[in-house]
Symmetry: C2
Subunit: 244 residues, 2 copies
């Protein structure tokens, strides 16, 4: 899957990702006014807006990143919007990175993987995952990446101000926690490297601290990065890009 | 909310929690045989099994813990089973701890909180959350705990074998990562303490290492614990209990 993403980026000459977070307040009035303001109407407006965005950018941007929290907050109808957004993006040739930050252990991670990578209704090309539970939480996803030609993005260093509270703490061996997670990520992906040398096991690395970004880029030569905080994350339209 | 949970535990004289993970292979044949084996049939069987379990234990066990991964793996119909399981448990007087291990930042954590604590379709009494992103990821939940009388369980030390890979690493100040997260949890909850001295901001602390459990129990006097690994987590029916 990582090879497909890299080729798509090269073909378009564009390493950016479009976030698709259905926030009703950002939907233009011309779409809002077509529907009532019930939860069902909000969902219809958000789906129409998503489809319009996908239509507008599918020739110039390689990937979309729906943030699942906003769909879950809209309940069952919201989950249908998520399913249709993933399907529509794929029908337009875009790569779908579902930002769900899931993570549990063993059979539970496997169930998340079934939902979002394997053959579940919300299946995507990549899923973001949280490393706090260690290998037990990540390996079930890694196995499915191999089996179903998918990928994951492990949270290594996030872009939020308090990410340093835990992630930047120094261990007694002198390394930071995020460095340690970065090394684990490189290890988890060592058997899933594609023809460009990058693995299907990728990393989220915030761009808010360029020194850390540069350091990790050098230390993790086979790990493809998704970089939040590029451009204008704190403005209304979040922006993301890849680095490899 | 923590006071309600403690009172319910005292009233029943029982500190255990029933996991509700819809795994079709564990549903008895007498229920399975009523439905076909389509995804819809599987969902109906799982819901009937859940309701039967809730009916059987609601007089002796204070709380249920649905594991959302298994519902998500069943797609939209599975999410409906989750919604109905939460509602049915509450109608029978049980406290619902939704095990979703969510965690993101700012407005995204707020969206998860809307889905699972505030007024979303899957609203529960407590939600499990992941601390890797630091305070930005947890504070939106804490604010909603106060506003809507709900609670969260922060993953401090999980019960899986590889939890030590990150959680037990020693920092240069001599503390482990799980101790540090435990201290943050105590801090996040300091303004939400109820009449028994415990906070709505609780912790997940695995029972697989009794030394760590005892150490954390002493260090976090205001933090209520959910303890996986009590009894027989690795057998077919996972068991959990509370410690306070």
């Amino acid at each position: 899957m990582i090879d497909k993403l890299i080729e798509k980026i090269k073909e378009m000459g564009n390493p950016t990702v479009m976030g698709l977070d259905p926030r009703y307040e950002l939907v233009p009035d011309e779409i809002k006014n077509k529907y009532d303001s019930s939860n069902e109407g909000i969902c219809k407006a958000c789906l129409e807006f998503n489809k319009g965005l996908i239509d507008s950018v599918c020739d110039i941007i390689p990937a979309v990143k729906p943030q699942s929290a906003f769909y879950e907050a809209l309940g069952i109808d919201g989950m249908k919007v998520l399913r249709e957004t993933c399907e529509y993006s794929k029908s337009k040739g875009m790569i779908v990175i579902l930002d769900s930050k899931r993570g549990d252990i063993g059979s539970t991670s496997k169930a998340y993987s079934k939902a979002y990578l394997e053959d579940g209704e919300f299946k995507s090309d990549f899923l973001t995952v949280n490393p706090y539970l260690g290998s037990d939480g990540i390996v079930p996803f890694v196995e499915d990446c191999e089996k179903f030609d998918k990928g994951i993005f492990v949270l290594v260093k996030t872009s939020n101000p308090s990410s340093s509270e835990l992630q930047n703490l120094k261990l007694e061996n002198g390394k930071t926690i995020y460095e340690t997670v970065g090394e684990l990520t490189e290890k988890w992906g060592e058997n899933l490297r594609g023809k460009y040398g990058y693995s299907d096991v990728c990393a989220v690395v915030g761009a808010t601290n360029p020194v850390e970004l540069k350091e990790l880029r050098e230390k993790l030569p086979h790990t493809f990065f998704l970089i939040p905080g590029y451009g204008a994350q704190r403005r209304k339209s979040p922006r993301y890009c890849f680095s490899f």
